[in-house]
C-alpha cells in the first residue's frame, strides 16, 4: 500500500508542476503511464481532480491514444514491428509464432503476468527488418524458428 501512496505522491508532484501550462493533460497522462505502468480508473480520477477537468475528458484522452493502457502490462513487453518494411519481410509470421509460443492473442498478457504481446507501428530499425523489441532491447533480422529460443531466455529469468 505504501508503494502506491508513494506513486500517487509522485503523480501529485507532476500535476503541480504542469498544472499551469496549457494542454497539461497529455504530459500528465504520459507521466502517470510511466509511474504506474497503466492509467487505471483510480489514476484517471486522481488526475481529473488534480487538473480540475472532468473524468470523461481524462477517459476520452486516455482511450484515444495507443500509448495509454487501462490495464497493467506484463513484465516483458514484446512489441513486434508491423511497419511496412518489416511487414514485407515477414513480420506477420514472427507475430504469429509469438502468439503460438506464448499462447496469447496479439494485445494479450500471459496469465502469469510475464509477457504482453503487441503489434507496434514502425520502430524505425528498417535496416534490421523484421524487428521486435522486448523491453527496449531490439532483436533484428528475425525468423520464426529463433522465437522459441528467445522466449525461453526470458522465461528462464527469475524474478
Amino acid at each position: 500500500m505504501d508503494q502506491s501512496k508513494e506513486k500517487f505522491a509522485q503523480l501529485q508532484e507532476l500535476i503541480d508542476s504542469l498544472k499551469n501550462q496549457p494542454g497539461a493533460l497529455m504530459p500528465v497522462l504520459q507521466g502517470a503511464q510511466g509511474i504506474f505502468g497503466c492509467v487505471s480508473e483510480d489514476v484517471q480520477k486522481f488526475i481529473a481532480e488534480g487538473l480540475g477537468v472532468t473524468l470523461s475528458e481524462v477517459y476520452g484522452v486516455a482511450t484515444f491514444y495507443a500509448q495509454f493502457s487501462l490495464h497493467p502490462k506484463g513484465k516483458y513487453l514484446i512489441s513486434v514491428c508491423l511497419g511496412t518494411a518489416c511487414y514485407v519481410k515477414g513480420s506477420q509470421t514472427i507475430l504469429d509464432k509469438l502468439s503460438e509460443v506464448l499462447e496469447i492473442p496479439v494485445g494479450g498478457t500471459t496469465p502469469d503476468g510475464k509477457f504482453t504481446l503487441e503489434a507496434t507501428r514502425c520502430l524505425g530499425a528498417c535496416g534490421l527488418a523484421p524487428v521486435m523489441m522486448i523491453n527496449g532491447e531490439v532483436y533484428g533480422r528475425l525468423t520464426p524458428d529463433v522465437i522459441p529460443g528467445i522466449i525461453e531466455k526470458y522465461r528462464a529469468k527469475e524474478d
Binding site: M26, G60, Y65, A66, T84, V88, G124, A125, L128, D145
Partner: protein
C-alpha cells in the same frame, strides 16, 4: 579546442543503436585509452549515416575509411591496426552490393549508395555530434538566424522562402513561403510556430534521422520562422516512440538557451523566442495538422474541418504556422545560400532535394537524399542496389498509407510531387518501400487498410465505417473467399470515401487499394476467380508440395508440427494437404530445395 589527428565517427542513429553502436563507442573509448591514444584520437557519436543496412557503421577520418557491420570484438583490431599502426582493417571495410567492390582506398562519395545523393536537409547527419552545439556552430550553425535578425526584414525572409520554391515535405507539397505569408498576414496578440515531428507512416524514418542527427537545424529554422511570422513561441510535436530524438532535441534546446540563441533578445535584438517539446502518444491521425494541434492542447487528437486554416485560427485559437521537420531543415540553407541556389536544384515545380527512407526488399536499406527529379530507377537500383537474392522487382510503394504502389513500367518517372500524383501515388513524407515477386499486392493493400482501420479516429463515418468495409472485403479475398463484384464494390467505396471523408487521412486512405487495382488488377482477379495467389504469399491459397528432388532424408517429416508428411526413408515424401498447416517449416528445413509452394 583540442586538435586530434584522427576521428572515429560512430553512427548513433536508431538503426545502428539497435544493432549495438553504443557498446562500440564504449569499447572504442576504452581501447583508445588503453593504447594511450586518447589525446590523439577522438570518438564521436553522430546522427544517421544513412546506410542502415550496413550498420553499425564506423567511419575513421582523415582517411574516411568506411567500416560496416562492426562488432564489439572488431574494435580492438581497428584500434591496434588502423589507429595505432595506420593499416586499414581490410576485411571490415564496406563492400558495395552492386559492384562487389570494397572502398578501402576510395572516398565515401565513390560508393554507389552515396554517389547519386545530394545532402541539404541531411547535411550534418553523420557528420557532427548532435549533442554538441559547438559542432553545429562550426558548420555555420545559427548563422542564418543571425543573418535574418540583423540584416533582413520579416518580409524579406518570407520573400526568400517564397522565391526558393520550397514545398511542404510532410507530403502535401503546399508552398512553404505561402504558409508563412498567410500566418504573417494574420493579426493577433499571439502567434505560434509549430513543427510536425509526428512521423507516423509505417516504414518512414526521415524526420527522425534529422531530429537525431541535426536537432539544432530545426530549432534554428523555427526561430527564423518565428521572426518572420511574428511568433515568440514554438511547439515541436514529436512521437514518443522516438526516445533518442526527444532526448537530443531536449539537449539541443537547453544548449541553445544557454548560448542565448533561444530566449530573450536573441543576437541583441528585441526578438524573443523559445520552444516547447510535446510528445505524441501513438496516434497516426495526429500527423494531420488540426489533429496535431488538438493533441498539443491536451485533447483527443481528432481533426476538425478547415477553414478556418491554422494560419488564421490554430493552436489555442491563435494563428499558427505548422511545418514538417524536413521542411524546416532546408530553411537555414536557403537563408544562407539564397533562394536562387535552392531553386536551381530539382524540377520546374518541385525545388530542392527530398529525403527518402528506403526499405523493404532492397539491398541498401537506409536513408537517402536526392535532388527532385531523380528517377525511381536511379533511387532503387543505383542508390539502393536493387532487390536482394536475385529476386525480381515488383513494385515500389511511396507515400505510406496515403500513397500507392508503382510497377516496373513507371520506374523511369522522375520523382517530384506532381509526377508521383500523376502516376497514381504521392510523395508523402518520403517512405519508399520496395517489393519483390514474393509480395502479394492484394495483401499489401490489405495491410495498409488494416493500418488505417486501426488508426482512424472515428470521428467521420466514411473513414470509420467505409475503410472497415473495404478491409472486410480484402480479408475475404486473401482468405480465398472473394466473390464476383468485390472489385467493383471496393472501387465504389474508395470513390465515396475519397470524396466525403473529413480529413487527409480518410481522403487518401483508399489510395493503396486504388493503385494496386490499377496496376495489379490481375492479382486481384487471380485471387477471386482462380483462388490463386500469384506471389504464393496468401496462406489460404497456397499448397506445399514435395518434388522429385526429394532424397527421403525425413528432415521435413520430423519438423512438421502437424505430422502431415509421410514417406519411407530414402523414398520421396508426400504432404497430406488436409493436415498441412502451411507453416512452411518443412520448406525451411529441406536442404535439397525439394519443397515448393504452389
Amino acid at each position: 579546442m583540442d586538435i586530434y589527428r584522427a576521428h572515429v565517427l560512430v553512427c548513433g542513429g536508431t538503426g545502428c543503436t539497435s544493432s549495438g553502436s553504443a557498446t562500440l563507442i564504449e569499447r572504442f573509448n576504452e581501447k583508445i585509452k588503453e593504447n594511450g591514444l586518447d589525446k590523439e584520437v577522438k570518438v564521436i557519436r553522430t546522427g544517421c549515416f544513412g546506410l542502415c543496412e550496413a550498420g553499425p557503421v564506423v567511419i575513421v577520418y582523415p582517411e574516411g575509411t568506411f567500416y560496416s557491420r562492426v562488432k564489439p570484438e572488431n574494435v580492438d583490431e581497428i584500434v591496434t591496426e588502423h589507429l595505432l599502426k595506420g593499416r586499414k582493417v581490410e576485411h571490415l571495410v564496406y563492400t558495395d552490393h552492386a559492384t562487389h567492390e570494397q572502398n578501402a582506398s576510395k572516398s565515401l562519395e565513390d560508393i554507389g549508395f552515396y554517389k547519386h545523393q545530394m545532402r541539404v536537409a541531411l547535411r550534418n547527419c553523420g557528420v557532427i555530434d548532435p549533442e554538441n552545439i559547438d559542432e553545429y556552430l562550426a558548420m555555420d550553425g545559427y548563422k542564418a538566424l543571425e543573418k535574418v535578425l540583423t540584416k533582413m526584414t520579416r518580409e524579406e525572409v518570407i520573400d526568400e522562402v517564397l522565391k526558393s520554391g520550397l514545398r511542404g515535405r510532410g507530403g502535401g507539397g503546399f508552398p512553404t513561403g505561402l504558409k508563412w505569408k498567410f500566418t504573417y498576414n494574420s493579426v493577433a496578440d499571439q502567434k505560434y510556430v509549430a513543427c510536425n515531428a509526428d512521423e507516423g507512416d509505417p516504414g518512414a524514418f526521415m524526420d527522425r534521422s534529422i531530429l537525431e542527427g541535426d536537432p539544432h537545424a530545426i530549432i534554428e529554422a523555427m526561430a527564423i520562422a518565428g521572426y518572420a511570422i511574428g511568433a515568440s513561441e514554438g511547439y515541436i510535436y514529436v512521437r514518443a516512440e522516438y526516445p533518442i530524438a526527444v532526448k537530443r532535441l531536449t539537449i539541443a534546446a537547453a544548449q541553445a538557451r544557454e548560448y542565448g540563441l533561444l530566449g530573450k533578445n536573441i543576437f541583441g535584438t528585441d526578438f524573443c523566442f523559445d520552444i516547447n517539446i510535446r510528445l505524441g502518444a501513438g496516434a497516426f491521425v495526429c500527423g494531420e495538422e488540426t489533429a496535431l494541434m488538438h493533441s498539443i492542447e491536451g485533447k483527443r487528437g481528432e481533426p476538425t474541418t478547415r477553414p478556418p486554416f491554422p494560419a488564421v485560427r490554430g493552436l489555442f485559437g491563435k494563428p499558427t504556422m505548422l511545418n514538417n521537420v524536413e521542411t524546416y531543415a532546408n530553411i537555414p540553407q536557403i537563408i544562407l545560400k539564397g533562394a536562387a541556389w535552392f531553386s536551381s536544384i530539382g524540377t520546374e515545380k518541385s525545388k530542392g532535394t527530398k529525403v527518402f527512407a528506403l526499405g523493404g526488399k532492397i539491398n541498401n536499406t537506409g536513408l537517402v537524399e536526392v535532388p527532385m527529379g531523380t528517377t525511381l530507377r536511379t533511387i532503387i537500383y543505383d542508390v539502393g542496389g536493387g532487390c536482394p537474392n536475385g529476386k525480381k522487382f515488383k513494385a515500389v510503394q511511396t507515400g505510406g498509407p496515403s500513397g500507392g504502389c508503382l510497377p516496373e513500367s513507371l520506374l523511369d518517372t522522375p520523382v517530384d510531387y506532381d509526377n508521383l500524383i500523376a502516376a497514381g501515388s504521392m510523395m508523402g513524407s518520403g517512405g519508399m518501400i520496395v517489393m519483390d515477386e514474393d509480395n502479394c499486392m492484394v495483401d499489401i493493400a490489405r495491410f495498409y487498410l488494416d493500418f488505417i482501420v486501426d488508426e482512424s479516429c472515428g470521428k467521420c463515418t466514411p473513414c470509420r465505417v467505409g475503410t472497415k468495409r473495404m478491409l472486410e472485403i480484402l480479408n475475404r479475398i486473401v482468405a480465398g473467399k472473394g466473390k464476383e463484384g468485390d472489385i467493383e464494390k471496393l472501387e465504389e467505396l474508395a470513390k465515396t470515401i475519397k470524396a466525403t471523408a473529413l480529413c487527409g487521412l480518410g481522403q487518401t486512405a483508399p489510395n493503396p487499394v486504388l493503385s494496386t487495382l490499377k496496376f495489379f488488377r490481375d492479382e486481384y482477379e487471380a485471387h477471386i476467380k482462380e483462388k490463386r495467389c500469384p506471389a504464393h504469399h496468401c496462406k489460404a491459397l497456397l499448397q506445399y508440395h514435395i518434388t522429385d528432388k526429394c532424397r527421403g532424408c525425413t528432415a521435413c517429416a520430423r519438423v512438421c508440427p502437424a505430422q502431415a508428411i509421410s514417406g519411407e526413408i530414402k523414398q520421396m515424401h508426400v504432404i497430406d494437404q488436409d493436415k498441412c498447416l502451411k507453416c512452411g517449416a518443412c520448406m525451411e528445413k529441406c536442404r535439397f530445395g525439394a519443397i515448393i509452394k504452389k
